[in-house]
Symmetry: D4
Subunit: 229 residues, 8 copies
């Protein structure tokens, strides 16, 4: 079954192609990873299935590799791959513990786009006092965009968009049960936000959110005149 990973995407879009592992066979993942490594020097695989992890690891064991357990995301680099540092700055905030895997998926993509990421985790609205100090610090860093990752009530992105003078991207997660569970309430609440400057991606779409944050931050950084090392 043929597949065509979009090796030209980074050049065209300024954002890397990402192999969505969840619904793929090990063979397909390996083939696409080889294609991207050959074409761009790097392969990013999101939601690596447990059944494929070892095969992929050993297939590329001589390459540099980065693997994030919580999100099952892997990045593989050829020796000659030249990691960019763009000067873009992004904040990633998670409401709860269970939102961390999606937050990490987003953070890693943004980092792969050359941005510096500052993380603040487990500061949900059930105890807002925990949020104030780290948020102040984050804004002091003058980040270019903030990702807010939240399941259940999805209230945190609205709170932060009400306070922060930068674009905020809400990332609902499939955390929560009962009516409005699996991220539905979180997404709807973000769509209904009464705070300005909040856009959203779909439930659990850390990759999509990370790419947008990276595009914003890199565009700002580029305007600042900063260059990759």
């Amino acid at each position: 079954m043929e597949t065509r990973p979009d090796a030209g995407r980074e050049r065209r879009k300024g954002a890397p192609e990402v192999i969505f592992g969840e619904t793929k066979e090990t063979e397909q993942i390996l083939a696409m990873a080889r294609g991207l490594l050959a074409g761009t020097g790097r392969a990013i695989i999101s939601r690596m299935p447990a059944r494929s992890l070892e095969a992929v690891r050993s297939a590329f064991e001589h390459y540099e590799m980065r693997y994030q357990e919580a999100s099952h995301m892997m990045v593989i680099y050829t020796p000659e791959y030249n990691k960019r540092v763009t000067g873009g700055k992004v904040g990633v905030i998670s409401a709860g513990t269970s939102d961390i895997p999606v937050a990490e998926e987003a953070a890693m993509i943004t980092e792969e786009m050359g941005c510096r990421v500052t993380r603040i985790y487990d500061v949900g609205v059930a105890g807002l006092h925990r949020l104030i100090e780290p948020l102040r610090a984050l804004l002091a860093e003058d980040v270019d965009a903030i990702l807010v990752v939240a399941g259940m009530d999805g209230a945190l992105p609205s709170v932060i968009a009400g306070l922060a003078p930068v674009p905020v991207i809400g990332v609902p997660t499939s955390v929560g049960y009962g009516m409005g569970g699996k991220g539905v309430a979180a997404l709807l609440s973000m769509l209904q936000t009464c705070a300005p400057g909040l856009t959203v991606v779909n439930i659990d779409n850390g990759v999509g959110a990370g790419i947008t944050a990276g595009m914003i931050a890199n565009r700002v950084a580029h305007a600042r005149g900063q260059r990759s090392q």
Copy 2:
């Protein structure tokens, strides 16, 4: 068409019967109001239809009357009606301007149950700084329960339930358009709250919320040993 307003409800439940005006003909409203006035000395009518307002007003023009424009709620008293003051204390908070009619519906019912109500309006999460001071004052009054009325993202009840050491009742309102609009996102977000001690009523159900708050506050007040004047 016969109707049977439940004149025994207050005695049985500690909460007044309320005539739901919205779907009733003027004749029905008048008949039910007369029944309740005869049985209990008071008639409460919620969502008075515009088409019935004048007829009801003139039918009972010799009685004391209380009419709240925003919520279209009316209360009529016979001269001998003895207004209770129970000592119960309830806070009513609204997120936005458009939530005020529902907040008022709830507040009035709670007042009719003999409680003192403190209102804080238009302090939504788009600018949380507006909330802190009035909330502090409210808690200093040692209210027995707090109603939080919010449409759109419905985030405010979760924020307050995370901060206040008393039972909080979330009242979603049918404010908001698009997906999750008309109160759906607000209700779902409240149901998915990650804050403890928050229960909810249906969208726009100020009457139901006010009755529960009144029942809690009156039970506490009764335990405190306070009596009606």
Copy 3:
């Protein structure tokens, strides 16, 4: 992966932090339990995953422990933990057999908040004659709040709220199949109740319901002047 159990919640909110076990790794549960035991002398874990039960049991085998099989809820106490008895009184009613796990989850939380709980199980509307006598007894105890736990048609909370002069909290359960199944019909029917004084929590949210009932009962008990032993 860092987690921050909210050890200050009980002091701030009058309600304990509860570790939601379902989506956590054994390591995370152990870490959070240790944190809460150190901070408050007690750790409450809801929805303990089967895979973690033994590990948690043996990790804390020298501590006093309470484990409820139906609800998979566990409470662990340090030797010096001082169990409160507040004098609060709560009734917990379940409609069917399958609703008992959620009812127990609620009952245990309420007990951990120092209240006395009276249980009435399997008295659903398919045979209302079974309900009358136990309900009369419950009201004679002068409970401060009643939790009614029901799946499928969710009719029982409305019936009870029509009869009982105390705040009723409806707890829909994910029992039932087909359209409106998994608790959806139950929740919607409770939200649409025509009985006064009924508020609800989300499907299967025994913890949330138990906390609110405990907060109401403890507030009343406190007003009554009763103290912990």
Copy 4:
């Protein structure tokens, strides 16, 4: 625009054709009514639009007519129409005042099928004590089927199906606002009933419910050997 009212339906199905007025022009209603009067001696029009009422009235002013205001249902008879009395017995119960129009729509159809109908209105679960006595009387009449008409929480049909030893047909009505409003919660709760012997029709479908009740009762009556007068 041609229309073909099914004049043979009564012979084929034992149930009359009914002209659904709501979406029809006055011309169409008149044409269909004439067709049915010619073919069967009777025309039944449900949901007569306000705009057509007078025209239909005057077109058939020399005929016997029955018009029910609440349900906007009209029946017109030719002089030679022979009204059946089958001996079938049906009970029609409504939960609230606002459910009466649908209850009447059902009751009238059942009467037009020759059955005797006993009505009990406004006895919803918010005050179950009002139900017991009339229900006992209804069962003493040995009715062949019971229609229970309810909006909002839709709890009453389950309560009655738990008590009555005859087939119960639940008729949800579009009464109620917010989530699960317009009859959705009522229908779902009836579909999820934990009581045996309850089947349902769609929201506000008094006609469909009345026809089924009539078919059951007439089949029983026929077996009893009773004949039309």
Copy 5:
């Protein structure tokens, strides 16, 4: 965990209590079956879980037993149980092969209520020519009610209700995938039927449908003066 099977249901309702096996532990099933056998001489268990089948079989191996594989329904009789034959007659029609388990669940319950059941299976609307002859035969038997069991498009009940002069009960099944799958389209189509005399039960609720059909047929049979053997 206490359970209270309703042994008095048959006497009160004319319909047997049925143990819903799906969500129960083997112990609970055994206990409830023993209770019903003691109270009524018969135990009916629907949706017997695979894990419990052998234990239940051997626990009651000295009793007469009836087990239907497709529907996983079991009936156990004490030696002295007196099987009724009421003279009621019911038709059960299934649209497809996959609908047979639900059809059998319904048929068995109806048989346990003493009725004679005629089955017509796999005659869906994709080839209506297959339906005509068997339906003619069924109507010639003068059945008192017809159950029509259908998933996917759910069109068959409407077709049959348009043709048959007896009450028809539609039973949607959870057959079908994609939008409207798992029985949703089937149920909605039945609720929207343009044919008279069709009522419905929830998706896969063969038990509920069978009980209603049995109640109708037994009432007719009783009126006919037929008695159990």
Copy 6:
């Protein structure tokens, strides 16, 4: 506000551009109609708003015009417009009276594409006997495609697709109230069809269905070697 009617569509797609009148101002309709008349010699306007009808009529009063009241569809021709007759043959069947406007919308579009249309109206499944004869005649004409237009239960398209050896296109209409009303049940039932060879368009989309039927029939006609006059 600029608009760009796609005058090249017919050449590119073999299907005409159609102006969707419903959401347009009279000015916009006039401007677009002029554009299409200039570009193609014909303007087709669907769902002409009542408020625009007279203005459009008088603006083009010197042109040939075709107006269908039921569907509010208008076609305007310049004197030199050359009406095609392709030899394509299409059948249009409606289930009920209320479905005729959508059926006419589809039929007119198909006619404007040069096909001959045979109509069969009001032959729904509530009385299938009415369908058999006209369907036999339609198939004898050897139509190239059949449109089946149905609201409420949406069962008719499945019945016809089970019988007819040509592609069938289901067109759900927004007829029906309650759950699954406004065409939802009809659409879902068609999507879930167990009959082969049925594709669907959205609710009330007569235009889309008519265009597809016209494209199929014209392609067949073209292969048959027939030409426009």
Copy 7:
């Protein structure tokens, strides 16, 4: 449990009966396959369950067989089966890699109806440049219909229907997670298409789409005067 595969379908409808394997036992599949082989010389089984594959393979090991792994579709031929070549031409386009199984299911059915199928896979809207060239080639072949198979955003069918002058059938697939996932957004977007000449089938219904495409193409081919070999 009896089953009746519709061996006359091909003669009646011009489309083969297909055994839906997913919900069937191995015995049922074998029995139905034997029936169809005897009646028509060929058996087509869609969604063969993994558990049945080997048994079916060895039961028919002396017959010619075609098995497509991605879609789990199998075709078995008796030696005397005469494969048709009708001259019909169909294009099958998939948006992504994960859509290929459904695309293959459709393609195989169309081929079994005697059509020639041209496939274009993995050309989704995330990089439209990949689509232009292959689409031009496909149209140059003068295909009679195009199937466009797409999950997630479901945008590709609208794009193609805007460009291609032949009937397009959209096939949504259950690819995608979060809100609108599992094919829901794809189906809805296709139903809402602003392009003319697009009809749809349900999510993942490759069989239904393939049959319609085959019926269109064969009708055109027949008109062209081409015959099977």
Copy 8:
């Protein structure tokens, strides 16, 4: 009824407060506009109700005013208001004619934030050839963000996000009828996009989209070192 427009929002968030006119009384709009004019020198009113337009116009007739008919948005300036020109550049693309009001709402807000806006309207996927040239021109301007406004199928934002190397914000509009209508399909399709770098706002939320685009563009412009005039 008190209201508190957030006059400090622009300073705090870099985005102006906007008065949502739709649900407000004329008095409320006037009061809030006066408050904002006093506090910030400018008042922006979205969705001005027809009933309030003249009153607002004459109340501020001596002020400079900008009113956009399609979107019913008004901006009022005090004489001393100093209009910013930030150097930010934003593209606004609409798929259809009916999407223009929402597109204008977004464009105006972005302009009020000091950005230059380039508009491309009515270039939907039903005729993609119309899009290519204007998009090329837009990218040549090096815009900082693109808003894509689309109803119905909502396919255009995915197409553009696949081509453009800048952040794209999808704005679904409530255009479209039937299933997925009123913007639901458009929103879901955007959430399910397979193109990278697309975030969304709720249906018809031009204001929210415009603010985010303005925040991105202004941040980039600020980094470029450009200043307001």
